[in-house]
Every structure is written in C-alpha cells, then in structure tokens.
Symmetry: C2
C-alpha cells in the first residue's frame, strides 16, 4: 500500500499506456522505450518514465521496458487482474449504449444487469444483460456483492438512485447524469459530463479561433 500521492492524471495515462502495450504485445513487440511509448500515446518520454516511477522500477537502463512485463504490472496497478461486475441504472439509450460498449468487456468489466423503472422494459435483455425492476436493485447488489454502478438516468432521479446504490453497499459510481449529486466519502465517485466536453470545444472556437 503506497502512501505517496499519485496524480489522477498519471492513472488516466497508465490506462492509456496499458491499452497501447496490449496492442504492441499482440503485434509481437518485446521491448519498447519510453520515447516510443510517448509517440504511441501522444505524450512525452519523461512523463512516461515519471508515471511508471510512482510504482517501481520496471525498465532496464540502456534498453527499455519488456512489453509483456510492463503490461502486466500496469494491469495489476489499475486493478484489472480481476473481472469486475458492473450494473447500469437506466436502460434508456445511454444505458443501452454503455452496455454494448466493447471497450468495457475488453478491459474486464462485465455488465451483469440493468435496472429501470419502466415496466415495459423489465424482463428484456440488452446484449446478455437482463433488465430488472429498479425496486430489485438493492437486493441484487447485496446478493451479488456488486461493487460498481453506472448511473444513466434522467437528472431528477439521479440523487435518489445514487442514494439507493450507496445504501446497498456499492463501492464505486460512474455518473453520466449532468447534475450535482452528493456521495459519502467512502464511495468512489466519478462524473462524465458530455455537455461540458462539448462546451469546452465551443469556448475554444469562439475565444481562440474567431469562429463566428
């Protein structure tokens, strides 16, 4: 258990390195330098080395990194040596898209169930994942010891859904709803805000590029 603080940006990059290394490994590349990693992920060599240095010495001086070893180390750091069961709350378009998203299964995240309040959807499946009534959610989380929940419901329900998740003992939440929700300290929480990303684009267009 490390005590020094690792920047969040470092973890985000490790995730990207890890995908890149997986590719390299599949293509039979055995050794790679920080400079080549940097090129492959659009970063700087020094940053690649610094990021890795938070967790140990994985390279060979004068040579580089063994692709297979480094990939495994990062996989372990990111907690991806296990598969994670994930539930999705909200079986609308976004919930459905996330369920189908290839990137999750590839990385060890299994969507095991969706929950919705719309009676017409209950009993259907999306991909392999069944849709259950939201009233069953708390029990399901407890029985199956689900640790990760994704929230993809309309804004007015978000806080209520999060409260149920927390109450059921979920450990981590990824929220796609564009509103502020409060979560107790002991639950990991992240937000993906699509509108904010769009508005970062338009800000730059009008302020730095004289569009319109």
């Amino acid at each position: 258990m490390k005590t020094i603080k690792v920047p969040e940006a470092t973890i985000a990059r490790l995730s990207v390195y890890s995908r890149f290394l997986k590719q390299l490994d599949e293509n039979g590349v055995a050794i790679i330098s920080s400079g080549e990693i940097a090129k492959g992920v659009d970063g700087s060599p020094a940053q690649v080395r610094k990021d890795l240095a938070y967790f140990g010495e994985f390279g060979i001086r004068g040579v580089g990194y063994k692709v297979k070893d480094l990939k495994e180390q990062i996989t372990k750091i990111l907690g991806l040596t296990y598969e994670w069961d994930v539930i999705i709350v909200g079986a609308g378009n976004l919930g459905s898209a996330i369920t189908h998203y290839k990137g999750f299964k590839e990385r060890g995240f299994n969507i095991v169930a969706l929950f919705d309040k719309d009676k017409k959807k209950i009993g259907l499946t999306i991909g392999d994942a069944p849709i259950y009534d939201i009233s069953q959610m708390e029990k399901y989380i407890r029985n199956n010891k689900v640790k990760i929940g994704v929230v993809a419901v309309p804004v007015p329900y978000a806080q209520k859904v999060v409260d149920v998740l927390v109450n059921a003992g979920i450990q981590a939440i990824l929220n796609f709803t564009p509103c502020v929700v409060t979560v107790p300290e002991h639950v990991e929480f992240r937000k993906v805000d699509l509108a904010v990303n769009m508005e970062l684009l338009t800000f730059n267009l009008v302020n730095y590029r004289n569009i319109i």
Copy 2:
C-alpha cells in the same frame, strides 16, 4: 479578445455554473453569492470568484451576482449564444445515445445528421436526424458549413473518419473512440474515454480502499 491564459478547468466549471444559474433563474432567484454557487456546484467560493474574474467583474461587492446577468455573461463566454449544428459519425448504439441525449439540445447543440457505412441504416432517422451514407459526409459538411463533429465509430475507423472530417473543414471534434488519433493544430479536439474513467475507479478501489 483575451490574451491571458484561462485554465481548462475553469471553463469546465463555468459550464457547470451556467447550468446551475439557469436552474436558479427558472426558480425565480435573482441574486446569488459566490458561496451559494459553490454550495450548489460542489466547489469553493474563492474558486467561483477567481473563475469569473478571468472574464470581468460581474458581481456587486457586498451583495453578490445578479443571476440573470451572470447566466447571460457565461453563456456568451462559452459560445452558447448561437446554436451549433453537430454531426455524428457512427450510427451505432453510442451514436444513437448521443443523438437522443437531452443535455445537448438544451444547451444549443443540434444533431443535424448521422453518417454510417452500414447500408441497412442509411435513410433511417434517429430522433429527427437522418442517417446518411458516410461517402456523403464531406460534401454535407462543406455545404452546410458544419463546425462540430462527434466520432463514435469502432477503433479501426477512427483515424480515417477524423481525416475526412478535417479535410472537409470541420473545426472541432469530440471523439469517443478509445484510441490515439492525430489532428492538425487548427482543429479543436477532445476525447471522452469511458474505459479510462472506469479504470480510475478501480485503481482507487484496489489501492486506497482495500477492495479485493
């Protein structure tokens, strides 16, 4: 035209303030302090003031900010006084979810068309937006002077799609494909990486919370 550099994090927060102010305005709130904004968006009062100070003096000392005025100012800063036409490349689950996403239309982003290579999808519509053949994309962008494109295609096609967008004169790209793509300097580019967000959660679970 400002020359001092505004942190990207500031813009992201402005986007959130702006939504919060819209709510307040709809609820008839006329004046608000930086402290109350901070509470509403889960931030700090000093940060709210600093963020706003990059763009001018919008408040009244001893009083606070006029909600309506501030909302309008931020709307202008973010470039949201216009409506933006947006096209989506990839009419799969993700493209479809983004098209339906309420948060975009509310903020002035109109999905005007989708493009796909699957002949079975061509001619269908998602919401109000028609799906066209990808071969028509370049012409469509030129004719309609579309400025923003969203990329939601499988990894192997991402770079090719981006090249076509750039070539057609698109100004900004929001990319949902989890891979590195290169874009020329003059095009605004942002990436939303769902797997990275998930892995930030699992990293924290295994490293700081002893899960598993």
